[in-house]
């Protein structure tokens, strides 16, 4: 379990914990096998992610990656944001232990889901709001 200093730093002081009220996009990703569940909220303005928040149930890696991605994504255009991959997050944290690369590195997936959610909402606001009921 040798986490990098950066992982431990984000784990101890996670950035952007919480929810965004009436978010423009939400990505939820959960892995019942390894037990990590992550919810990522974004606020989008002029095709840019202007705010991001998260809630995570998970191990050190899961919390640190969540925190890191909310930092990474801020002020990125949606196109840039979609380029953020699991690898990007792991590298920004100076690496993750091998057995944490998969299950606990879901932040990028959550982000992509949130953006997708945003795009869906924008395309067909009707149907989406219906689904929310």
């Amino acid at each position: 379990m040798p986490y990098s200093t950066k992982v431990m730093e984000h784990f101890q002081n996670p950035r952007n914990v919480g929810e965004i009220e009436n978010p423009d996009g939400v990505g939820e990703i959960g892995n019942p096998v390894c037990g990590d569940i992550m919810k990522l909220y974004i606020r989008v303005k002029d095709n840019r992610v202007v705010d991001a928040k998260f809630k995570t149930f998970g191990c050190g890696a899961a919390i640190a990656t969540s925190s890191m991605i909310t930092e990474l994504v801020k002020n990125k255009t949606l196109e840039e944001a979609l380029k953020i991959s699991r690898q990007t997050v792991a590298e920004a944290l100076d690496g993750l232990p091998a057995n944490k690369m998969h299950c606990s590195n879901l932040a990028a997936d959550a982000l992509h889901k949130a953006i997708e959610d945003y795009k869906n909402k924008k395309k067909k606001p009707e149907s989406v709001s219906k689904r929310d009921e």
Binding site: P14, G35, M38, F57, A62, H102
Partner: protein, 390 residues
């Protein structure tokens, strides 16, 4: 300086200072090989024999039925695979429980690949095996039943006497893994009625890398380790004399201090439990409330994943384990808690506090003090704790 509080005695223990003292001469001047016939060898042999007698005395049996191994895992492997291979002409069916240690479960899985059939008994919500259930699973070709004495994750003590009686009635070998019960409760192989029993040195202040398998006379068993005639040709390999002497000394100390330690640890554990329950909401105990070894306390903190608790406690110098996943390097939640019907998120949220000799009231009070803040901080971060409140 940061305080260090070790609450993971079920994972391993430091060697007792008296154990260490007892081992030293066998690293130095009395270093002989017990197979050698000269003075150095005879000294080693005497130490080996004396150690075997001590262990036998503790278990209430004959030294000839005590076999030294390299640890609990080897003892379990030897018990399961050794009897399976030696008795496959009689049958290929084995019964165990779904909450055994991996050393048992993986040995059984290996045997399944080799053509054996294995039944894994279900347990109730406390982790108890049901004797009637055992009775139902027994077949004509059942050759071995293995049910652990005390569980390593939540401490529940299985009704081994009752289970072994069923085995005896039907003429089937009965093995129990007593790695977690030794030093905590009496282990008398006659009273327990078992044919095979596993121990491991490092779980009760003995050294790592040494264990015991008790094999009742007459039990047929194929060795796993072939070679010289050590351990009556049932476990080849130059005997680890310092380790064996250390294990025997640890047994002696365990026996001597058991009563006193047991009640002291019980008080510590109760005190800690009470404080935690007072201070933190939505905490659930895993395992049987009474029928369990006193040193293990397994609690699930709803909405918070285990590793994140361990890491936060670790930053405060406190060492605990989790039924979550990370300990084994795997990423599946505890098979023990799952078998007891604990839902996955609560299994992932479980922490095992295991108390031991070095722990004081101040220690547990300190832990009970820092824990609420940690849990509350993590719950604020949790997407599932809020959900369950709404």
């Amino acid at each position: 300086m940061i305080r260090k509080i070790y609450l993971d005695h079920s994972a391993t223990t430091p060697v007792h200072p008296e154990v260490f003292e007892a081992m030293i001469p066998f690293y130095k001047e009395r270093f002989g090989n017990a197979s050698s016939i000269h003075l150095f060898g005879r000294e080693a042999k005497v130490a080996l024999d004396e150690s075997r007698e001590k262990v036998a005395g503790f278990l209430n049996t004959d030294p000839l039925e005590i076999y030294f191994t390299s640890g609990g895992t080897e003892s379990d492997n030897l018990a399961i695979k050794g009897t399976a291979f030696a008795n496959r002409n009689k049958g290929k069916h084995i019964i165990t429980s779904s909450i055994e240690h991996h050393a048992i479960l993986e040995s059984c899985k290996f045997l399944q690949k080799e053509g054996f059939e294995v039944n894994y008994l279900q347990v109730d919500k406390y982790g108890l095996v049901n004797p009637d259930e055992l009775r139902k699973q027994i077949r004509k070709d059942t050759i071995l039943i293995s049910i652990m004495h005390a569980n390593n994750e939540m401490g529940t003590i299985e009704p081994v006497e009752e289970l072994s009686r069923i085995a005896r009635e039907t003429g089937i070998y009965f093995h129990t893994d007593a790695v977690q019960s030794i030093g905590k409760i009496q282990i008398d192989v006659q009273k327990l009625g078992v044919d095979l029993l596993s121990l491991s040195g490092h779980k009760f202040y003995g050294p790592k890398g040494v264990g015991v398998l008790y094999i009742r006379r007459g039990v047929r068993l194929t060795p796993l380790s072939h070679g010289g005639h050590h351990e009556k040709a049932r476990r080849a390999g130059t005997e680890n004399i310092p380790g064996i002497v250390g294990l025997a000394k640890a047994i002696e100390i365990a026996q001597r201090d058991m009563e006193k330690e047991e009640s002291r640890i019980r008080l510590l554990s109760d005190r800690f439990f009470d404080k935690v329950m007072q201070r933190i909401p939505d905490v659930f105990m895993n395992g049987h409330p009474e029928r369990r070894v006193p040193n293990i306390l397994n609690l699930s903190f709803k909405g918070v994943e285990g590793e994140s608790i361990i890491l936060n406690l670790d930053l405060k110098g406190i060492a605990v384990a989790s039924g979550s996943a990370c300990t084994s390097g795997s990423l599946e939640p505890s098979h023990v808690l799952s078998a007891m019907g604990v839902p996955p998120d609560l299994a992932q949220s479980s922490i095992r506090f295991s108390f031991g000799r070095s722990n004081t009231e101040e220690d547990v009070d300190y832990v009970a003090e820092v824990l609420p803040e940690i849990i509350s901080k993590l719950r604020k971060m949790s997407p599932i704790y809020e959900q369950s409140k709404s």
